[in-house]
Symmetry: C2
Subunit: 257 residues, 2 copies
């Protein structure tokens, strides 16, 4: 057993590490340290390609997009065998990402390893930063992928979030297979909000290929939206100024700005 | 004018920097670089006290909790005068924090400065990491503070989020003055979820005084909840295993774990 990845009870610790939206600048020191400490780094090849310098000298277990279960099981097995293992998760492992699958697999094996989640900058944080200040008040995050959630439940959530004036962040708005969900989602929200409601679309946030589009609920379906996009739809108070979206938290009602 | 904080159009840039939940380990490299680059650092004293080594040799404009407007106005004025200014925001400036106020103040002055938001680990990311994997599916963030939002609107959002089976993260659950809101919020959610629904309460996430409490919707009002707490209430599928909360994303319906 390698002591440097054992917890205070001498249990082997598996780290699930958020690498943020891409590249080193938006990784935390704790995330870098967890990867540096590991002997084995497990992850989806696309995320690993963004941090080549952190992989030098490590054993790397890299698999493609649809092989999350195999990848996470392998990581748990290696940690059980006493190896120092870090699972790389793009964004924040805790938000629509790898934390859940790792813990579910450990649970299914009744594994006694220690598991530590190292948080990262999620898409919702990175995209909001590119748009200015869209999330200053209550917001809902909704994934439009019906691969793992029934579409009827997604529609129910869109309806609820739109009717209660939440700012709405749409994850997985579109894929090659799913091209109509974003239009259906827009139509549900449109029942509750005006055509002029500001909308921001951020693709590849913080990466070299980053694009930011400011549009409106009325016009958004004409914009380029892809697999890597996050769409943030303002609430009834969100406004645009210069290239920023602002959802006022309410200070203007209480304070004199 | 100091060129190192000018943007490509030679406009002075004001940085709004997320310092995360507390201390250096969970700050990003980009956040550290923005503070190192600044001559003037503006922030709430409690957040500045957590990063003393980043303040050495800088002009520091530090004020108390209720003086956000004055603080942000001073930061905008200093940037307009050509100074290199960074506004420190605990957590992520884009989530219930300083990004909005800075941009609103710039808007009110029709300021032409450039503003860059440097995202950070928000309370929702940090608290989720301490609880395991509660946010693997759609979630809503709701602040229980009625200082800036009418309580009726908060109730409407609680009702909507609870009825549509969102995982719910409650910000600002309690203060000295507001002790009853958390009970009211619990009662609204209780109409839609069972008493056994897992609940996690994280206070001072990642700090020395961090506490994590796992409880249930039925029992949560007996737990210690304070100003620095974030409360995460599971949805109908959230379960507890060891000291983890898991909201399965749905892999078990599609994959064989």
């Amino acid at each position: 057993m390698e002591e440097r990845c054992n917890d205070s009870n001498s249990r082997s610790t598996l780290y699930v590490v958020g690498t943020g939206p891409g590249g080193r600048p938006h990784m935390t020191a704790a995330a870098v340290a967890a990867l540096e400490n590991a002997d084995v780094i497990v992850g989806y090849s696309t995320y690993l390609e963004q941090i080549p310098e952190l992989l030098a000298g490590k054993e790397v277990v890299s698999t493609g997009m649809t092989q999350e279960v195999d990848r996470c099981r392998r990581a748990v097995e290696l940690a059980e065998a006493g190896r120092c293992v870090a699972v790389v998760s793009g964004g924040d492992p805790g938000i629509y990402a790898m934390a859940g699958l790792v813990i579910e697999i450990a649970e299914s094996r009744n594994s006694q390893i220690s598991i530590e989640i190292v948080p990262g900058i999620a898409a919702i944080n990175a995209c909001a930063s590119r748009l200015g200040a869209p999330l200053m008040t209550d917001f809902a995050a909704i994934s439009l992928s019906d691969l793992l959630t029934p579409w009827e439940k997604i529609e129910l959530r869109l309806e609820a979030a739109a009717s209660a004036d939440f700012v709405i962040a749409l994850y997985n708005p579109k894929s090659k297979r799913r091209t109509g969900h974003i239009a259906s989602a827009r139509d549900i929200i449109f029942k509750h909000r005006s055509a002029e409601t500001p909308v921001g679309i951020v693709t590849g946030a913080t990466r070299e290929n980053e694009t930011v589009t400011l549009t409106t609920l009325g016009e958004m379906l004409s914009a380029d939206i892809g697999m890597q996009s996050t769409v943030i739809i303002g609430n009834s108070t969100t406004r645009r100024w210069r290239d920023f979206l602002i959802t006022p938290r309410g200070y203007d009602r209480k304070y004199d700005i």
